[in-house]
């Protein structure tokens, strides 16, 4: 029986999951908004973060909160390397090339992970107990994951709107040529943006282990790619903070639809929720291709 308390509980869980989804998507819209490159291998960076979190916990005993910092650093470095090694050469060329390039890079990360750590799923539990919300147990790790995601997004906001580098990035979004004329090093901004975007994505991967304790495997990123695309489209694709809000909305929708699908008993609710994600992408693109949250 569905009580009002249960619906509220599911919604709160959705908000926590949603802030995490928001963080996991911000990198995607950041890259698209600034470099005009769609990271079609997005999910693989989430996967790398999850592995970093796993190995830090298994080998060093570090909790995901600490390893997410390391994950950010790894993603940041990867972003710089990727920009100077590959992306800068295809920038401004046909869209097809950068799409295929990122797609191939994502596959490459998956295969490297499979080669190094095998395809068998791994997992770990950072047992902190749970808190009681309206009589339902909610794991404390998820609460932490949601709050930390929100804090990271806040830091990004402060960085973009209160620092010189942040202003440079925003000026390039507005007008790359104008920014260059005013003395902004556009190429440096591109590299920095990709580094930040991938840093955030890999860090979100580390935090993902707070929500799902198992199932860390090379191909775990694919559902994240689909989901991130759905969320980014919902938020208008080019706006990072639009994506964050859309992620919040999406977390709530996903949790509620999972609840309804379990009640309605139509097939496997887990797979059906993933199918609905794809259906939602098409629906949003059909109704409002510029994004639901954009004016």
């Amino acid at each position: 029986m569905v009580t009002a308390e249960y619906v509220i509980f599911v919604t709160i869980a959705g908000v926590m999951l949603g802030t995490f989804y928001g963080l996991a998507t911000i990198g995607l819209s950041f890259t698209f908004g600034i470099l005009r490159i769609l990271n079609s291998g997005h999910g693989s960076f989430v996967m790398i973060g999850a592995y970093i979190s796993y190995w830090c916990f298994a080998l060093l005993g570090l909790p995901p909160l600490v390893s997410s910092l390391l994950a950010f650093a790894v993603g940041f470095f990867m972003g710089f390397a990727l920009y100077h090694g590959l992306i800068s050469r295809v920038l401004g060329g046909p869209e097809l090339i950068s799409l295929v390039l990122m797609f191939a890079f994502g596959i490459f990360l998956q295969e490297v992970a499979k080669f190094s750590w095998s395809a068998s799923p791994r997992g770990f539990t950072w047992g902190l107990g749970s808190i009681n919300i309206f009589g339902y147990e909610y794991p404390l790790t998820r609460l932490i994951g949601g709050v930390v995601s929100a804090v990271i997004v806040l830091v990004l906001y402060v960085f973009l709107f209160r620092t010189k580098s942040g202003n440079a990035i925003r000026s390039v979004v507005e007008d790359p040529e104008g920014a260059a004329l005013c003395g902004v090093n556009v190429s440096r901004v591109y590299a920095l943006s990709l580094a930040i975007a991938l840093g955030l994505t890999v860090a979100s991967g580390a935090l993902s282990t707070l929500f799902v304790s198992g199932g860390i495997e090379p191909y775990m990123g694919d559902p994240y790619t689909t989901r991130a695309f759905a969320i980014a489209v919902l938020g208008g694709l080019t706006s990072p903070f639009g994506s964050f809000l859309a992620g919040l909305l999406f977390g709530i929708i996903e949790n509620l639809s999972y609840m309804l699908l379990s009640l309605a008993n139509v097939g496997n609710p887990f797979s059906m929720t993933r199918f609905l994600t794809f259906a939602m992408i098409l629906l949003v693109l059909l109704i409002r291709p510029q994004g639901l949250l954009k004016r």
Partner: protein
């Protein structure tokens, strides 16, 4: 009609026929050549849309998988009758259903997605694969996550010898037929009004639209044609494999391979995928034999290098190398 205007197509068909005769005559080449025909056909199908429009569809394997499911389910359904219809009827129905299902899916997805530009189109199609896979696993249709196997149905309805003939001989010829039809289709599209419209679209979509090219309709037409052919290719693969399981059927490697072959040979050309497919097929065969399971690890960096250094592929390079000469006119 002057036959010389179509000599490049005729040469391509002659080369394909020679390969087919090699396959018939030398049994040892059977395995590698049937892989080759499948991959070249897959890339031609992919090229028919992505090469001609420069819009990337990451969900191609979904159409192939849907064709495999549609074909398999049709065969299973027809053979469950008390007196199974003749083999030719069963196979024809399998191909028809596979094509129709892929066509319907392409119309539904394409109707929305071809209105979108560039990256937005890729977003609309990247989830296609995952979406269809989860729909099948979630609702449990066509065997759900346990897969669809038709081997027993074929053996029981006919006999073991027929089964062997169908899966190891006939299936290859069916795939070859799809391959030949696809080449003919892409050739006809390139030479038609549609092809010129698409060429204008590739250069500048806005300008083409202003000049009266109905870009949305043109994109939708080639998307649907190529998806239907992909579905039929799936039916051929189903008859060859006689089984399908969601994780393998929706494996992303097919999409990667189709992109690699098209880009290696040359996007938007008819000869490109054949040249790319020949090189790739031989490489893959060698790689699978010596390093099983690692082909994607080698393939992904190769694709990255191709994107950065040779975005126009072998045919594109040859065309520039022999610009103005007779060879260029042969490289369609």
């Amino acid at each position: 009609m002057d036959i010389r205007t179509h000599r490049s197509l005729i040469i391509l068909f002659l080369v394909s026929l020679i390969l087919l005769f090699v396959r018939v005559g030398i049994p040892e080449t059977r395995q590698i050549l049937s892989i080759l025909f499948f991959y070249i056909a897959l890339s031609e199908v992919f090229n028919l849309f992505t090469g001609l429009t420069l819009y990337v569809c990451f969900g191609y394997v979904a159409f192939v998988a849907l064709g495999m499911y549609g074909g398999g389910a049709t065969i299973k359904y027809l053979l469950s009758a008390s007196s199974p219809p003749p083999l030719a009827v069963v196979l024809a129905c399998a191909f028809a259903v596979a094509g129709i299902l892929a066509l319907i899916l392409a119309l539904a997805v394409g109707w929305i997605s071809v209105r979108l530009k560039g990256a937005y189109f890729a977003i609309a199609t990247i989830g296609l694969n995952e979406g269809l896979k989860n729909l099948i696993e979630g609702t449990g249709i066509w065997g759900g996550s346990s897969g669809l196997v038709i081997a027993n149905d074929l053996i029981q309805s006919y006999n073991y010898d027929t089964f062997i003939f169908v899966t190891s001989e006939l299936a290859d010829y069916l795939i070859f037929t799809v391959y030949a039809v696809t080449i003919l289709c892409i050739y006809l599209v390139i030479k038609s009004r549609l092809g010129y419209g698409l060429a204008a679209l590739r250069e500048d979509e806005e300008a083409a639209n202003v000049m009266g090219v109905n870009v949305v309709r043109y994109k939708l037409i080639v998307f649907v044609i190529s998806a239907t052919l992909a579905g039929m290719l799936g039916a051929g693969k189903m008859i060859k494999d006689v089984a399908i399981y969601p994780p393998q059927a929706f494996a992303v490697s097919y999409t990667v391979e189709a992109i690699v072959i098209s880009m290696l040979g040359g996007l938007g050309t008819v000869t490109g995928p054949v040249i790319g497919g020949l090189i790739y097929g031989v490489l893959k065969y060698v790689l699978t034999v010596s390093f099983p399971g690692l082909q994607l690890l080698a393939l992904a960096p190769a694709l990255m290098v191709m994107c950065v250094m040779f975005p126009y592929g072998i045919v594109g390079w040859l065309r520039r190398r022999f610009k103005g000469s007779k060879i260029e006119s042969l490289l369609i």
